[in-house]
């Protein structure tokens, strides 16, 4: 019974940690939901250990813990795959940004050089250049 209580404590701690991270903005909602669901299910199993035995006998598994292990492995593999996919998307995005930064830097430098070459073209070349009026970018929902 003590092991059940232990797992209950662990899952409650996990849910609390996820909620705290959510609160402080360290975890995005779309990832947090997965962990909240996992934590919630673990709490339910901790409160009613009989459910696991029932599920195992329904699935034809003799040792109920094996059902738990099998499910956890499937879940972790799935999470790992999902993280790799997100990483690929992020790398492609940062690659695109790097290209843009390089091209912008080059065009700013050549503009600056051409301005320096022809200072008489505009009589107020010494005036500091005012930044373009800022437009606030709209928040774009990027969830796929």
């Amino acid at each position: 019974m003590s092991s059940v209580a232990f797992s209950l404590v662990i899952s409650v701690v996990m849910v609390v940690v996820v909620l705290l991270m959510l609160r402080s903005g360290k975890l995005r909602e779309k990832y947090a939901i997965l962990w909240l669901v996992v934590g919630g299910l673990t709490i339910v199993l901790g409160l009613f250990p009989g459910l696991l035995d029932l599920a195992a006998s329904l699935a034809g598994i003799k040792v109920p813990a094996n059902l738990l292990f099998a499910l956890s492995i499937v879940l972790l593999v799935g999470v790992g795959l999902h993280v790799s996919r997100e990483l690929t998307v992020l790398e492609e995005e940062s690659r695109t940004l790097a290209e843009e930064v390089a091209i912008l830097r080059q065009s700013v430098e050549s503009l600056r050089n051409s301005v320096a070459m022809a200072p008489s073209a505009s009589h107020d070349a010494n005036r500091p250049v005012h930044p373009a009026p800022q437009t606030i970018p709209k928040e774009v929902d990027r969830d796929h």
Binding site: T96, E99, Q106, V140
Partner: protein, 247 residues
Amino acid sequence: MPAWNEAEAIGDTIRQVNAVVPEHDILVVDDGSRDETARIAADAGAAVLRLPFNLGVGGAMRAGFKYALRNGYSRVIQVDADGQHDPHDIDRVLAGLAEADISIGARFAGRGTYDAKGPRRWAMVALAKVISAVARSKLTDVTSGFRAANQRALYQYMDHFPAEYLGDTIDSLVVAIKSGCRVVQVPVEMKARQAGTPSHSPWKATVYLARSGLVLCFALARPRSKPQSAASLPKSGDIAGERGATL
């Protein structure tokens, strides 16, 4: 001209190219070098794109292609920064674009003395055989970095030009062929590297064989590029702007 830590060779290479074909503009893509590559290239008279971190040859090339499209260039040729490619061949490789979208300066096509041995040689021959069959055109050197592209190929490259190992040669070429680009090769000579040492260990060559085979299989399995909407493509004269943010 993609360059990563090529400070030793880049200045001479640019000056040689400028001396032989002064009518072409040179763009050096500094792929996150930690040395003086960018400054030396700019002093030698090239336009320089400085990537903020190292992306690999494929990453540097796509940045250069994007720059070319935005600035309204219709033909682009990639030349090694270390001086391996003879500037006299530049116009010959570009001439290949008259009948195709991609023109490759090939090393084993009868001219020059470049030679590779052992597993590396087998890999190059096998890759060339498979890709020739896909392209329905005789190609003997598909990993050559001496290649030219016209605007159609550039737009194709915008869609698919991986930054991974061999992505800039095999993968991008196979997908471009599948998407309808025609490819020709032009025999060229290869000069000795100006700086740096080429790798010749048999173990590395075997790893190369395995990796290039894997890259080829992935590339062959990829779907052809979908025609993109005109609004999402970089246009001549754009300074910034990006194709759709989603992948």
